[in-house]
Amino acid sequence: MALLEVNNVSKVFGGLSAVTNLKMKLEAGELVGLIGPNGAGKTTVFNLLTGVYQTTTGDILFDGKNIAGKKPSAINQMGIARTFQNIRLFSDLTVLDNVRIAYHSHVAYKLPAALFRSGRFYAEEDQMAERAVKLLKIFNLDGKKDEIAKNLPYGEQRRLEIARALATEPKFLLLDEPAAGMNPQETAELMNLIRWIRDHFNLTILLIEHDMSLVMGCCERIYVLEYGRVIAQGDPENVKHNPKVIEAYLGEEVTYA
């Protein structure tokens, strides 16, 4: 059974059909790219998959369960996590708190334990802080755990967003332009890191990226979206020679790595 099945999903805003008849299928463990020109509907797909928007028609099955009508928090608890194209950290809180908040669904102690500071409360809080630091270490942020998130440099904020998403312990991770605003070297490092966390955490990843070359080098399979429709899909080799894709990106600088 596929981990994610998107069946004929459409999303209409007023008169505008941002996503039309979308079909997608992701198997567990895949690293898949979602590309397309500006305004193609990529972020809208993420918003549909995470419950920020409700579909106009069609349905989305995750792990065999329909996510229609579920709140974003419930969908996250089913195992879908994401980052945002425009960084949305808890910007006035510390790096550590950003990650600890994301662990919240896995906290077992109850309110009275917190109010009366039981031994269990301390044990779990310690364990949580330990895990958070371990996670931050992967992103080279453990040294900055007490800094306020908004004071981090841009690239680190992007990495913190991924760390925070991972703290929810997802099966499926959605990354919306994770390398936006990074220099080529940072980008290359990040792509390696993304592959590494996929293997290390046994994740399935769907990745939006603007830079074609980057997706080509990183993803195993690609969906190309234009005006809300999938115009091509398949492995990178296939996609980059597809005439429709070349046309869609015409005028944009396309360089293949």
Partner: protein, 321 residues
């Protein structure tokens, strides 16, 4: 247990005990007059009200203008329990607080779906509805008020209840539950995506806040012999909001200090009660202009501050969206 015996906790406990004993001695020897005792009691109630309001408004980010409504419920219900049903004070205190919490739940569930100004207006309406219902309820004396409530609230009760309130709300906030509430204030969408059921935590903050406001109300009615619906109007809510804003949204110690400062100011303005509210309004405007983050911002006052003054981070515009 060992975790509770930190240096800071021991210093605070010792300081609290000293304050309690000194005031108790001064009261029993009559050095603190009845006039100042009244203000001491009001200050303690102010702490309870401000800290509980800060939980809702400063930490969970839900701007409410109806906090005095919950106080009214606690004040009236506890008084009814004591006067009409002959219950012991401790049960009346809990009863008043619990009924306020239940009302917080019933009112919070529908209204907390609203945001910003809409929530403010809805809670304002809620406070007024509570007042008008009391005004028209014969059983509790209507506009004339409820008489014959025994004076039981004293320094000891106030001291214990304020400490318990501050401790409970602090412990709540410095836990996964509190962090979830704060994440709702920071960014509702990001919080939801991180698995935080935002409605759940808004309601939690509202219910706990209402509980302690009800406790404050119960202490209030058992100090004053008699209560009237007019005493719990919109201006009362504003009074506590001023404390929260002055102390700093998101600072418990800030609220405690602001409650004390404003109570002291009130003592000096006793003869000029008419200009008191004008002064409050002016104070609010001045804070907004010169120090919008309040005395403490979102920082906490701690014994660590004596050793090392932490750099204050500017609370600028929120970063991303």
């Amino acid at each position: 247990m060992k975790r509770l015996l930190t240096r800071q906790n021991m210093i605070i406990t010792a300081a609290l005990l000293v304050v309690y004993i000194i005031v108790q001695v001064l009261l029993s020897t009559g050095i603190i007059s009845a006039f100042y005792e009244t203000n001491l009691i009001l200050g303690g109630i102010g702490i309870i009200m401000a800290v509980s309001l800060n939980l809702i408004t400063g930490f969970a980010g839900q701007f409410t203008l109806g906090h005095a409504g919950f106080m009214a419920i606690g004040a009236y219900f506890s008084a009814v329990m004591t006067v009409k049903w002959g219950m012991p004070f401790i049960l009346s205190l809990l009863g008043g607080a619990c009924l306020a919490a239940v009302m917080g739940f019933l009112i919070g569930l529908p209204t907390l779906r609203l945001k910003g100004d809409y929530l403010a207006i809805a809670t304002l309406g809620m406070g007024e509805v509570i007042r008008v219902v009391l005004l028209n309820t014969k059983y509790v004396g209507g506009a004339a008020g409820l008489f014959g409530i025994p004076r039981i609230t004293n320094w000891t009760w106030i001291f214990v209840c304020s400490v318990v309130t501050v401790l409970c709300i602090r412990n709540l906030l410095w836990s996964s539950y509190g962090r979830a509430c704060i994440s709702v204030r920071e960014d509702e969408v990001a919080a939801e995506i991180m698995g935080v059921d935002i409605t759940h935590y808004k309601v939690l903050a509202f219910v706990v806040g209402a509980f302690f406001a009800g406790l404050g109300g119960a202490l209030y009615s058992h100090y004053y012999y008699f209560i009237q619906p007019g005493g719990f109007g919109f201006m009362k809510s504003i009074e506590y909001l001023v404390m929260v804003v002055l102390g700093g949204m998101g600072s418990i110690t800030g609220s405690v200090m602001a409650a004390i400062v404003l109570t002291v100011i009130n003592v000096f303005l006793q003869q000029y009660s008419a200009i008191r509210m004008i002064l409050y309004a002016l104070l609010l405007i001045i804070i907004m202009i010169f120090r919008p983050e309040g005395l403490m911002g979102s920082k906490e006052f701690s014994t660590a501050m004596f050793r090392r003054f932490e750099r204050r981070d500017d609370r600028g515009s929120a970063g991303g969206q």
